[in-house]
């Protein structure tokens, strides 16, 4: 009798948050750090086992640090940590969709790590993140390469000596992120070639001496940060979103630069960030236009452009004139150096940017090159709807801003509908923490 009564009581006890559908409570638990999620087991009998069914196990650096904090007195941290992870995995019920594993510098027993990876694999893991602690010299366990169902793989500071001879590839992998690799460019190339479905690739690579050749016929998104000798994508022609925060020493040669951009025939969004511009040297001679037009390019974002340098202005013009379908343009000017007074941008009636509708300029301080660029864009864009100009904080007083505004007002506009908005930089303006949406 007692049992029945108690069961009834338990049923009515469910209230508010508890009567949310199972998938919703699970999602809420997945938004919590693992410990907080596990702590909900004590709320009520309804909640007791909920946390052990979440499909994301995030054992990241934060998780590790909190375990460390709680066990300050222990002398055998590797043992404690292994026990905690084992406890979590053994109490888990159901599939594991996403598994994040941080490997601390004193690395727990390697056999344990392999076992954890195999456990995740056996539970159907699709998204795997493996993060090595800073300065860790060890290579990652080969059991990773048997996870054939992976769709997303993220490696942070992971060292791979070579791929196992038996490695068949990741047949379902669509996204690969590998941050901080240096000596592994050839391993990376092989890995990429064994992932036939790969669509998205995000790399932070530092290797001045290597050329990275990407061969991924289905690749749509590419982001590369760091440094390389050269980047080649001859077999990779489907890319529609490309972001580079990369210095390629070979790009100093106009020919290599042209070759590279000639492979981007399908690119719709292009982002070139600081490192790309910073490492171009004065000797760089930009081609006047690219040999093949960027026919599909609609959105161009350029960050950290040194407008005071001749070559970057010429290359900027080269990009604009080679992009007949450009709709949106975003330029953030670098504020590092002083002006040069040379007349770099000549307005000429043959230049036309027929589709350009929206221009956003940031970090403008009224230098001649900037004014020339504004004049040029206004005169050449018959479809322009909006140009917003955010002034740099280093611009000086009200008089200077007024002069700037009066000057820009005078410029002829090819578009009768063009609206010009001049604003001063807000402190902590979001636009300076610029990350493209699709990289998040």
């Amino acid at each position: 009798m007692f049992a029945v009564g108690s069961a009834k009581k338990r049923k009515t006890a469910a209230d508010r948050i508890s009567n949310l559908p199972q998938n919703v409570t699970q999602q809420i638990l997945e938004c919590l750090p693992l410990q907080e999620a596990a702590r909900t087991s004590i709320l009520s009998s309804h909640w007791k086992h909920k946390w052990s069914a979440i499909s994301q196990l995030v054992l990241d650096e934060k998780f590790f640090t909190s375990i460390l904090k709680k066990n300050k007195e222990t002398t055998d941290m590797p043992l404690v940590y292994s026990k905690v992870v084992n406890n979590i995995l053994f109490s888990h019920v159901g599939p594991i969709w996403k598994f994040v594993l941080f490997l601390p510098s004193w690395l727990p027993n390697e056999a344990d790590i392999s076992q954890w990876i195999r456990f995740a694999h056996a539970n159907g893991v699709k998204e795997f993140t493996l993060e090595n602690a800073r300065g860790l010299k060890k290579y990652i366990p080969t059991s990773l390469f048997s996870c054939k169902d992976l769709t997303h793989l993220t490696l942070i500071r992971c060292k791979i000596l070579r791929l196992p001879a038996t490695f068949q590839g990741f047949p379902c992998l669509i996204s690969l992120r590998w941050k901080m690799l240096s000596k592994e460019v050839s391993v990376l190339e092989t890995l990429i070639s064994k992932c036939p479905q790969l669509q998205s690739l995000c790399l932070i690579v530092y290797d001045w001496e290597s050329t990275l050749s990407i061969c991924a016929p289905k690749l749509k998104e590419l982001f590369v940060e760091g440094s390389l000798s050269n980047l080649s994508m001859e077999e990779t022609t489907s890319i529609n979103k490309l972001a580079l925060d990369l210095c390629c020493s070979k790009f100093q040669k106009s020919r290599h630069m042209s070759d590279f951009f000639s492979t981007l025939l399908k690119v719709e969004k292009l982002i070139l960030k600081e490192s790309f511009w910073m490492h171009l040297e004065y000797a760089f001679i930009s081609p006047p236009t690219l040999p093949k037009e960027l026919e599909k390019l609609q959105s161009l974002k350029l960050v950290g452009v040194p407008l005071h340098r001749r070559f970057s202005v010429v290359f900027l013009l080269c990009l604009l004139l080679s992009s007949p379908r450009l709709v949106q343009l975003y330029i953030e000017v670098s504020e590092l150096e002083t002006a040069c007074d040379e007349q770099l941008i000549q307005n000429d009636d043959t230049c036309i940017l027929p589709c350009l509708q929206k221009v956003q300029l940031f970090g403008i301080s009224g230098l001649p090159a900037e004014l020339q660029l504004i004049k040029f864009l206004l005169a050449c864009s018959p479809a322009l709807e909006k140009m917003s100009i955010e002034l740099s904080t280093g611009m000086g007083g009200a008089q200077e801003k007024f002069n700037f505004a009066t000057e820009t007002l005078r410029y002829r506009r090819a578009s009768p509908n063009a609206e010009i908005i001049v604003k001063t930089k807000k402190l902590f303006s979001d636009s300076y923490n610029f990350t493209p949406l699709w990289l998040e």
């Binding site: 949310l20 410990q35 709320l43 375990i67 493209p436 949406l437």
Partner: protein, 164 residues
């Protein structure tokens, strides 16, 4: 000008569980996969009548909120540069509600398959319970503790790593 598809509607009518009618722009309605599916199905059939979609699980109060969210997000749908502004708006939007409303809103988002609103609500609820004690969470969400002290101690013991 006639559109190329057999029929194309610009508005739909949505009915709440308490029988109030809401006229909704198609672009706004499409933020909800449930509504979008209904519209697509009707369009495939080639109906030119106004579509009425009854939602038996959502009251007018909550539906008004869901539609307010959808309207804002439909406005920003083509603009990927203002995501910061939108995020800010999202946060302000949810901050206004008590937990009961938030709960109903979450359920409605789940039912109407408005994925981004559901994500937002779940994240918001998770954030708001993150630093609370077990007692506080029970209180806020009206959860009745049906464990004996012994049971409670056992659970703590099982997952000692998670408890302070």
């Amino acid at each position: 000008m006639a559109s190329s598809s057999s029929s194309s509607l610009s508005r739909v009518v949505v009915k709440s569980s308490d029988n109030n009618l809401f006229v909704v722009n198609k672009k706004v309605a499409s933020q909800s996969q449930l509504l979008k599916q209904c519209i697509d199905n009707m369009e495939e059939k080639g109906t030119n009548d106004v579509i009425l979609i009854p939602l038996s699980n959502v009251t007018s109060n909550i539906l008004t909120l869901v539609l307010e969210y959808c309207e804002k997000h439909a406005d920003f749908a083509d603009d990927d540069n203002n995501n910061q502004e939108l995020k800010q708006w999202d946060h302000e939007f949810l901050k206004k509600f008590d937990y009961a409303t938030l709960n109903s809103l979450t359920m409605a988002a789940d039912y109407m398959v408005t994925k981004s609103l559901l994500n937002l609500c779940c994240q918001f609820i998770a954030d708001s319970i993150k630093d609370l004690t077990v007692q506080q969470i029970r209180q806020i969400f009206d959860i009745k503790n049906d464990f004996t002290p012994q049971e409670e101690a056992d659970i703590k013991n099982e997952n000692a790593w998670a408890f302070r």
